[in-house]
Amino acid sequence: MNAPSPQSLGEQRAVLSARGLSRRFGGFLAVNNVDIDVFHGEIHALIGPNGAGKTTVFNLLTKFLQPTAGKITLMGEDITSTSPDRVARMGLVRSFQISAVFPHLTVLDNVRVALQRPNGLAHQFWRPMSALDTLTGKADALLTTVGLMRERDALAADLSYGRKRVLEIATTLALDPKVLLLDEPLAGMGQEDITAIAGLIRSVAKTRAVLMVEHNLSVVADICDRVTVLQRGEILAAGDYATVSQDPQVRTAYMGREED
């Protein structure tokens, strides 16, 4: 079965793209020959049933996993064998499926830790902690953007699940990434938070590229410009939501069931 190649829109160049991405775990081919292109100013959804390999694709793209085969380029640069922290410094920043915050730091400090490196305050071991006070203004601005100002001085561990996800998005935005990879950013959130965060993702995508794994199809339909459907590690369909959702294969494999 050959995967449909992703369509390209005119002269637009992909910020992040992968060709023939594969990853084998022992005898199990978790990701098989995946092509994907993520464009500036767009939200690209990666959907598919559980175990389809969405998170593995994320791990491969962010280099937390080394692909068995294939090539990844970020803004024209080959990052196939680059380390994950270097990829992050180049502007490809991810969030995690299981909420990744620093639990015993305050909400403010979570954001300030993210701000330290881009602001050149990451290696000074001789300066007092108060050197970080200069980052507080920026951190507060970010917390205001995502609506976390009220929880600013609470420990991240004490936040509810949904608020932790919001905090994670705030820390990710602190790096001002070129490409934002969000692994199920809306999972476990109440409807109120979903509306707010979907709006937030939409507004941040205006100036960068976003790739997100998401199960909530109404949100995908709402905010995503492009959809790639994965099944058993392979691309089943790709295109805009209307096209993909009409695809008979997709309907039987995934959406038909979900939309009942």
Binding site: A88, A122, F125, W126
Partner: protein, 336 residues
């Protein structure tokens, strides 16, 4: 929007969470009391004993920088401590360098050993990390056993203390004592500053969630290596100072038992607290000194203490105090 909030940020907060005025005063008073104690101690207690405690306390505090603030359990810290003792002793005795330079050479030697050991160990996790540090430290032990300059089983004996900065005669016990006390304070201050610095903040975040720290663009291995080298350098500072105090450097200080002893000291006092390792080393050194005169085997007692510590108060003396009802009431965890 942002400007409104920045003006309300407390600028005098020492830590991440705001600290009350009374607490800062209490902290300052405790610090002054500690300094006074250090000042008058040689007139109340046998100075050589306190100097031994201070050397081991700095050693344990340096070790704690790694286990307590970076989450790495090194089983090879004796190499830095004992190695630095050899470097200082050799440079002072054979090359005739002044004591301050001798101690610096010991510290630099400890840091260099730390860089080599850290380079090999840092990418491994948990027990593998500990085993690599142990095996490299054992290799260094055999090097010290075989190398000419260490004089093998005899060690380097009768190391001259010399004159600090050319005019302070360290053969005067009181001069030696205050020098050691000053070195101890400088070392502990460096550790305190290191932990409470922008760098220390990143270390803390790595300890909290390593994957997240990587995804924020931090090269975790470099931060760990930085902490490892700093810890090794300060262990070297302690070892070099000890060589001057006791005027010898022997194989005991590079042996794995010393690596074990520093773990015991830190665990007993309280991992991840500033004061814990200092108190822990005082207890262990005291125990050793008293038992040495009774003829009762020291290792049995320290072994029993170790077991009791692990079984009953895992947080160590200081850690348990901070976690107790009184400790929580006064927020001791923040400044012990």
């Amino acid at each position: 929007m942002a400007e409104i909030h920045t003006s309300t940020v407390p600028s005098d907060a020492l830590d991440d969470r705001s600290v009350s005025k009374a607490e800062i005063t209490a902290r300052r008073l405790a610090l002054i009391a500690g300094l006074l104690l250090l000042l008058v101690a040689p007139f109340l207690i046998y100075p050589v004993f306190i100097m031994k405690v201070l050397c081991f306390a700095l050693f344990a505090a340096a070790f704690n920088l790694l286990i307590g603030y970076t989450g790495l359990l090194s089983f090879g810290h004796a190499a830095f401590f004992g190695g630095a003792a050899y470097f200082t002793a050799h440079s002072v005795k054979e090359w005739g360098v002044p004591p301050e330079l001798g101690i610096l050479i010991g510290t630099a030697g400890g840091a260099a050993l730390g860089l080599i050991m850290g380079f090999f160990a840092i990418r491994r996790q948990g027990i593998y990390f500990s085993m690599i540090t142990l095996s490299l430290a054992q290799m260094f032990f055999f090097f010290c056993l075989q190398a000419k300059f260490t004089h093998g089983e005899d060690g380097i004996q009768s190391v001259p203390r010399g004159h600090l900065f050319g005019f302070i005669d360290l053969n005067q016990p009181i001069a030696m004592y205050y020098t050691v006390a000053a070195i101890f304070l400088i070392g502990v201050f460096i550790i305190w500053r290191f932990v409470h610095s922008p760098f220390g903040m990143i270390l803390k975040s790595i300890r909290e969630n390593e994957q997240r720290a990587i995804s924020l663009g931090y090269s975790v291995a470099r931060y760990k290596l930085g902490a490892f080298v700093m810890s090794a350098a300060l262990a070297g500072l302690a070892g070099g100072t000890k060589a001057l105090v006791f005027q010898f450097a022997t194989l005991t200080d590079v042996g794995w038992q010393t690596s074990g002893e520093v773990i015991l000291m830190t665990l007993l006092g309280g991992i991840g607290t500033m004061l814990g390792p200092i108190l822990g080393s005082a207890i262990v050194v005291m125990l050793g000194n008293y038992l040495a005169t009774t003829g009762f085997p020291v290792t049995i007692i320290t072994g029993a203490v170790f077991m009791i510590c692990v079984l009953v108060f895992r947080r160590g003396v200081v850690g348990e105090l901070a976690a107790s009802r009184i400790g929580r009431k006064f927020g001791l965890a923040r400044w012990l």
